[in-house]
């Protein structure tokens, strides 16, 4: 059984005198113990709201409705009361946020912010807690942890802050860690270090990780399974390798195509997806991506496309998916117009063996078994 | 003519565009703020209160039933202060007589004009002097280099001195200097608000001076004096205007306090709410209403200005804009 099973999760914000907004519209995915799962999509696709809804951290406001299920280890997180949820948070499920500076309390020393988790969930106090906190900081690679415990967030560098936040998150050896864009606010060199750290922690402790990101490079380097979100729904789900090799949903294809590549020729242009997330078709009226889709056909509009599950447990929500490679090249060119057209399926999205995004450290590691 | 490389030209164009866009936003900021103001019930209540009082102040004095100085109550023998006889409301005298036998309703109406006048003039004085000091200091600190910083420091020391004096004491001293009169109250109350306006405008201008569009304008070679007057100053005015609205409320209250201390208009022939409130104190035991009418009028007027000012602050706050 999966560790976390999210079924038909939906989040609606209703404002007075305004049309309700469905930020998340029936997201389903599951996370097995020890697995690294990616939630990928542009900003506004509902990935952060999904994670906050699972944690019960959405700001309480009138008009907020959360539907569906999020079953963690047999309990539906959306149904339990506030107290049990507080018991689970930080102990069984921990979370890391995007901006490490604003996510740390500026007027409380790092040490207390780490030990308060230990006090809350492991009943540790005083010396013992301080010692454990120092060990935690050491484990996440913060040098001179004893001194850092007394310091305040503004005295740490960006990378250090994110490390400190990770230390707080793993303090109770949670079974599930949710990382919401953990590297977006950091320098590129630091990003790689933080990702390595997360990878190591996950491997060593067997913690499952949900990685929320818009950065396909991050996904390519870490995740076992990837869920691509669009308009508050999962539009494609697959293991890492097949996804990068043979993306089926046109949105995934577009995402892969809009990543800059090192091996692209100088004159070659990027292939951004035309339009923006705001050009959204409400799901009941058809495929939300249809307005921006280059493979749009008549049956895209009218009713939402069903989830197509293929033999290798991949799934996509599309009536006219990108063809699998191996099909005659002529056919591909027929569906896809000239390569200069933005949003067209780029050749590199259907590559031969080196992974689709070689510009990003996407080399599959040893444990990558497709 | 200097030759500008293509890249540099592109950068300048971008900055210029940025500056232009900021200017555009400057206009739409006020439109946007006004739109949100109209939707805010507090602002509407405040505006309605103020409109009513303003109307009363402007046209009211022409329609009062009796002369505000007519001591008819004593003449007719209805009011006998010595025997504690000050009749209350009746069909002819809606709010009764005061201790000198004058019609309270008429005095309230005529007093509205004086009270609003004191508040407005006092605020104008404070705003003018404060904005002058703050504007010069802000422009000097933000754009003037080392010489400018010196000017700024000197002006701010002066403001510190004003601040170090308890405001009412300042007002009392001014009143002592000029003798008790309506003008004194206006100047005294106005002077008290000078430091607030000066600091606010200075802070706002310095913040604006550090923004990108000033950098853009500087890089385009616009003269500093022009930047200060045409860009920085107009964009810094929003908090000052909000503060002016709020100061109108405190000015009316403080004017009442000065009147209470006996520094207000000694000539009770031209009624003013603060003076009426002060004059009513000895008769509280006999007829508390004499104090309550002007007090409530002062509170409601101040409330109107405060509601409107707070709503304006909210409407203009960029953090709250969506």
């Amino acid at each position: 059984m999966a560790l976390l099973d999210v079924e038909e999760l939906s989040v609606t914000f209703a404002r007075r005198n305004q049309r309700p907004v469905r930020a998340v519209d029936g997201v389903s995915f599951s996370v097995d113990a020890g697995e690294v799962v990616g939630l990928v999509g542009e900003s506004g696709c509902g990935k952060s709201v999904t994670s906050l809804a699972i944690m019960g951290l959405l700001p309480k406001q009138p008009g907020l409705t959360v539907g569906g299920k999020a079953v963690f280890d047999g309990t539906d997180l959306l149904k339990i009361d506030d107290r049990s949820r507080r018991d689970i948070r930080g102990r069984d499920i921990a979370m890391i946020f995007q901006d490490p500076l604003s996510s740390l309390n500026p007027v409380v020393p790092i040490g207390i912010q780490v030990t308060e988790v230990l006090t809350r969930h492991r009943g540790m106090k005083g010396e013992a807690a301080a010692k454990e906190a120092a060990q935690l900081l050491d484990r996440v690679g913060i040098p001179d942890p004893k001194r850092r415990l007394k310091e305040y967030p503004h005295q740490l560098s960006g990378g250090m802050r994110q490390r400190a936040l990770i230390a707080m998150a793993v303090a109770c050896q949670p079974r599930l860690l949710i990382a919401d864009e953990p590297t977006t606010a950091l320098d590129v060199t630091i990003q790689a270090q933080i990702l390595e750290l997360l990878k190591d922690l996950v491997r060593d402790s067997g913690t499952a990780l949900v990685m929320i990101t818009h950065d396909l490079g991050v996904v390519a380097g870490m995740c076992d399974t990837i869920n691509v979100l669009y308009g508050g729904r999962v539009v494609e789900t697959a293991r890492r390798r097949p996804l990068f090799r043979q993306p089926r949903h046109p949105y995934t294809v577009g995402l892969l195509g809009s990543v800059p590549r090192l091996d692209a020729g100088r004159g070659e242009r990027l292939n951004p997806i035309p339009g923006s997330v705001r050009d959204l078709l409400p799901w009941p009226d058809g495929c939300a991506f249809a307005p921006r889709c280059t493979r749009r056909i008549d049956s895209c509009v009218g009713e939402p496309p069903a989830l197509v599950v293929t033999h290798d447990s991949r799934g996509y929500r599309c009536v006219n998916p990108a063809p699998l490679p191996g099909a005659p090249g002529e056919e591909v060119r027929e569906v896809v117009p000239g390569s200069a057209t933005p949003g067209s399926v780029p050749a590199q999205a259907v590559p031969d063996d080196p992974p689709a995004v070689p510009g990003l450290a996407a080399t599959p590691s040893e444990e990558d078994v497709a | 003519m200097t030759i500008i490389s293509g890249k540099k030209r592109e950068k300048i164009d971008r900055l210029a565009e940025l500056a232009a866009r900021d200017e555009e936003r400057g206009v739409s900021l006020w439109q946007d703020a006004f739109r949100r103001l109209r939707r805010n019930p507090a602002a509407v209540v405040g505006a309605v209160i103020l409109t009513v009082f303003l109307l009363v102040a402007i046209v009211g004095p022409f329609f009062v039933p009796y002369g505000p100085t007519d001591t008819m109550g004593i003449r007719e023998g209805v009011v006998k202060v010595g025997q504690g006889l000050i009749p209350g409301h009746s069909a002819e005298h809606w709010l009764g007589y005061d201790h000198q036998g004058r019609d309270v309703f008429s005095r309230m109406i005529v007093g509205a004009r004086q009270t609003l006048l004191v508040g407005v003039v006092a605020t104008m004085i404070g705003l003018a002097i404060g904005a002058l000091i703050g504007g010069v200091a802000g422009a000097a600190a933000g754009l003037g280099g080392r010489w400018g910083r010196w000017v700024d420091a000197t002006l701010m020391r002066f403001i510190d001195m004003l601040l170090a004096m308890p405001s009412l004491l300042l007002a009392v001293s001014i009143a002592a200097l000029l003798g008790p009169s309506l003008i004194t109250v206006m100047i005294a109350v106005g002077m008290v608000s000078v430091p607030v306006f000066a600091r606010l405008l200075r802070g706002s201008m310095i913040a604006q001076s550090n923004s990108d569009y000033v950098l853009a304008a500087t890089s385009l070679g616009v003269r500093k004096s022009k930047i200060a007057l045409a860009h920085v100053l107009p964009n810094s005015l929003a908090p000052v205007i909000v503060q002016a609205t709020l100061t109108l409320a405190t000015a009316i209250i403080e004017a009442a306090a000065l009147s209470y201390l006996g520094l207000g208009n000694p000539d009770s022939a031209t009624p003013e709410w603060g003076v009426m409130l002060a004059d009513a104190q000895p008769w509280l035991g006999i007829r508390p209403a004499l104090a309550i009418y002007p007090a409530v009028a002062i509170i409601i007027t101040a409330l109107g200005f405060t509601l409107l000012g707070e709503a304006m602050r909210e409407a203009l706050d960029p953090k709250l804009r969506k």
Binding site: F97, R120 | M161, L169, A176, L177, I299
Partner: protein, 334 residues
């Protein structure tokens, strides 16, 4: 830290110097002089001249100023013209009353304002929120002296719960040490005297607290609302901390920063309010004495009192700045 304090105190010197010049010029320009106050309208020119000479007011203003500065350096503020007592003595006798009143008002304002503002923010949009926001609006708009009168009329004259005037019942014959009556009572263990002094402080304290209370409620509420939206509060929630810890350590500590700043500014403003409140409750602080001194043209008292008040004001703000650096580690005093 020490350097910061020293520098701030050194900055005080030019401010005081400038203030003294301004005051000096200003006071001498007031129409009439102490001789008019002493003699009234009936004095002969000779008598007036004699008094002026006696007080040293006939000399050129620069020499007078020089003499004042020389005395100031020795911390000698001169002698009051009207009471013939040393200005320092007068001050030490009257200022404690004003301080007691100000502290009472601040205790009331902070003690009620911060919890009320916090609750209003947590119950945003509900009755308590609307009530406290509305109440604070009225609190700002009510003239202090009028509120003082209402309180006096209701709680003292009608209900008789509190005394209507003075600082202490003189029949108690309380011992005076510091002229802080409450403190004196505690030091001499005259509990009834201390209690009576506190009793006398309640009504004027409440009247004086109205404006700071209203402002503190509003600032606390706004500040808490802002902090509740901060990312670190979400982090704290994500850690599964109890509501109590989240509230105290993460929300309140951060929300207090702007409140602390406003408390410093408000304390300065309270001195003005104190003058009015003292007048209504015949509370013998510096308020009424200062007002009298102006009409009496008592130059030494005016100069001395205003200078000391300026120093106190600067010191209060220094203390606020220092305490600010204690609660916010990002602010380092240099």
């Amino acid at each position: 830290m020490i350097r910061f304090i020293v520098r701030r105190l050194l900055q005080l010197i030019p401010t005081l110097f400038g203030l003294s010049i301004l005051l000096f010029i200003w006071l001498r320009r007031l129409p009439g002089g102490p001789e008019t106050a002493i003699l009234g309208e009936r004095g002969t020119p000779e008598m007036r001249a004699a008094i002026r000479q006696n007080l040293g007011l006939d000399e050129p203003i620069l020499i007078q100023y020089g003499r004042f500065i020389r005395r100031m350096v020795r911390l000698d503020l001169g002698t009051s013209i009207s009471t013939k007592r040393e200005v320092t003595t007068e001050f030490l006798q009257r200022f404690p009353g004003t301080v007691e009143l100000t502290i009472t008002a601040m205790v009331i304002a902070i003690g009620i304002g911060i919890p009320l503002g916090y609750l209003a923010a947590r119950r945003r949009g509900r009755f308590l929120d609307h009530a406290s926001v509305g109440g604070s609006l009225i609190g700002i708009c009510i003239p202090v002296f009028f509120l003082a009168y209402i309180l006096k009329a209701i709680f003292s004259e009608n209900l008789g719960w509190f005394p209507s005037s003075g600082r202490q019942d003189p029949t108690l014959g309380a011992t005076r040490i510091t002229n802080f009556f409450v403190l004196d009572g505690l030091m001499t263990r005259e509990w009834d005297a201390a209690a009576d002094a506190i009793w006398h402080l309640v009504l004027p304290g409440m009247a004086l607290a109205s404006i700071p209370l209203a402002i503190i409620v509003r600032i606390t509420r706004a500040s808490v609302l802002e902090v509740l939206n901060e990312d670190f509060v979400r982090t704290a929630e994500a850690k599964g901390l109890t509501e109590n810890v989240v509230r105290r350590r993460h929300v309140l500590r951060n929300a207090m920063l702007p409140v602390a700043t406003s408390i410093g500014l408000l304390t300065g403003g309270l001195l003005s309010g104190a003058v009015l409140t003292e007048t209504v409750f015949a509370f013998s602080g510096i308020g009424a004495f200062l007002a009298d001194s102006i009409s009496q043209r008592d130059y030494p008292v005016l100069m001395g009192f205003i200078m000391i008040i300026a120093v106190v004001y600067v010191l209060v703000n220094l203390i606020v700045d220092l305490s600010y650096s204690l609660i916010d580690p990002r602010v380092r005093v240099r």
